[in-house]
C-alpha cells in the first residue's frame, strides 16, 4: 500500500462516515446535564471558599486576642518593679524662674542674653541669689532699657531753705 498523501488525507477527512450518528437533541441534553453539574460544583466551591474565608477570619481574630492578652500577663515569680514610665506628676521647679523684665513698648520680648545676670559669678547658673534692694548710691546700674537713671539728691531747680 502506498503512503498517504494530501489527496488521501483530504478524502479521509471528508469521509461521510465520520459525520454519522450525531444527534443535536442528544447533544443538547448532554450539554444541559453537564451545565447543571458544573453549576452545582461552582456553587459548592463558592460556599466552601466563603466558609474557608470565614474560618480564617475567626481564627485570626482569636489568635490576635490571645496574643494581646498574653502580653498583659506578668510572671508570678518576677519581682515587681515600678513601671518604667509612670504617669508622674510634673516636678515643681526648685528655683523660681527669673522674672522677666517688662516687655518693651514694641511688645517684643528681650533675648535671653540681654537679661541681667542675677546669680553670683562662679556659682551655678541655676543658683539664684535673693534679690537685694539696691542702695540709693548704686542707682547707676543700668536699668531696663528705656528707663532713665534717677540721680540721687534733690531734684534740680529746687533750693532747699
Amino acid at each position: 500500500m502506498s503512503a498517504p498523501d494530501g489527496r488521501d488525507l483530504r478524502s479521509h477527512l471528508h469521509d461521510p462516515a465520520l459525520d454519522q450518528g450525531i444527534s443535536p437533541v442528544g447533544l443538547l441534553a448532554g450539554v444541559q446535564a453537564r451545565q447543571h453539574r458544573l453549576a452545582r460544583r461552582r456553587r459548592h466551591l463558592t460556599t466552601a471558599a466563603a466558609a474557608g474565608a470565614a474560618t480564617l477570619v475567626v481564627l485570626g481574630t482569636a489568635v490576635f486576642t490571645v496574643r494581646e492578652q498574653a502580653e498583659l500577663v506578668t510572671p508570678a515569680q518576677s519581682p515587681t518593679r515600678p513601671p518604667a514610665s509612670s504617669p508622674a506628676e510634673p516636678v515643681p521647679p526648685t528655683t523660681p524662674r527669673p522674672v522677666s523684665p517688662p516687655a518693651s513698648s514694641s511688645g517684643t520680648a528681650l533675648p535671653e542674653a540681654a537679661l541681667p545676670e542675677t546669680h553670683a559669678p562662679g556659682a551655678s547658673p541655676h543658683l539664684v541669689l535673693p534679690a537685694s534692694p539696691a542702695p540709693a548710691t548704686t542707682t547707676t546700674t543700668a536699668g531696663p532699657r528705656g528707663v532713665e537713671p534717677v540721680p540721687a539728691g534733690p531734684p534740680p531747680g529746687r533750693v532747699s531753705p
Binding site: M1, A3, D5, L27
Partner: protein, 175 residues
C-alpha cells in the same frame, strides 16, 4: 425560560453537530469528541450572556473546542484509554475495497501525529482555512503552522504501510 437560554439552545442545535464533526476529526474518537464538545458548550452556556456578545460566536466556540483538545488537562487526563473498536477493524479482509484500506491507513497514520500537527491538518484540509487564520487560532506564527503541516505530511508519507496492532489499540496521541 429566559431568552438567553433560548438562544443558547438554538445555538447548540444549529452548531453542535458541526462542532462534533470537527472534534471527531481532531480526536479520531466519537466518544471523546462528544465529551469535549459537551464540556465546552456547558462552560460556554454558563457564561452565555457574555459569550453571545462576541462578533462570531461560532468561531469562538470552535476555538474553544480546539483549545480544549490541545489543553494539558485533557492530554494528561486521558492519555491512554481503550480504543474505539468500531473505528477500525485491523487489516482489511481480502476483497475489501482498496479505498477502505487506504482510509484506515490514513486514519492510523493521523493517530500517530502530535495533536498540534493533527489540528493543523484538520484545519487546513477539512476546514480549508488559510495558514494565517490557523496561526491565529493556534496562537502561533504562520511559519510555525507551515512547519507543523510540512512535518505532519512528511510523517504521513513516511508512515509504515501497515500499522502495528499496538498503534491501533491506543488512542491517537502517540508521538
Amino acid at each position: 425560560m429566559t431568552s438567553d437560554e433560548d438562544s443558547f439552545e438554538a445555538f447548540v442545535l444549529a452548531h453542535g453537530p458541526g462542532l462534533v464533526r470537527f472534534a471527531r476529526r481532531l480526536t479520531l474518537d466519537h466518544h471523546r469528541a462528544e465529551d469535549i464538545v459537551q464540556d465546552v458548550l456547558a462552560r460556554v452556556g454558563l457564561s452565555w450572556a457574555k459569550v453571545s456578545r462576541a462578533d462570531d460566536v461560532a468561531a469562538y466556540v470552535h476555538k474553544a473546542v480546539l483549545n480544549d483538545f490541545l489543553s494539558w488537562r485533557r492530554r494528561f487526563s486521558s492519555r491512554e484509554r481503550p480504543a474505539d473498536l468500531s473505528w477500525h477493524h485491523g487489516d482489511p479482509a481480502p476483497g475489501v475495497d482498496e479505498a477502505v484500506a487506504a482510509r484506515e491507513h490514513v486514519r492510523a497514520a493521523l493517530a500517530r501525529l502530535p495533536r498540534v500537527q493533527r489540528a493543523v491538518l484538520v484545519l487546513r484540509y477539512y476546514h480549508d482555512r488559510p495558514d494565517v487564520e490557523i496561526a491565529t487560532m493556534l496562537g502561533c506564527r504562520e511559519s510555525t503552522v507551515r512547519s507543523h503541516a510540512r512535518r505532519a505530511l512528511l510523517a504521513l508519507r513516511s508512515s509504515p504501510a501497515a500499522p502495528s496492532e499496538t498503534d491501533l489499540t491506543i488512542e491517537g496521541t502517540l508521538r
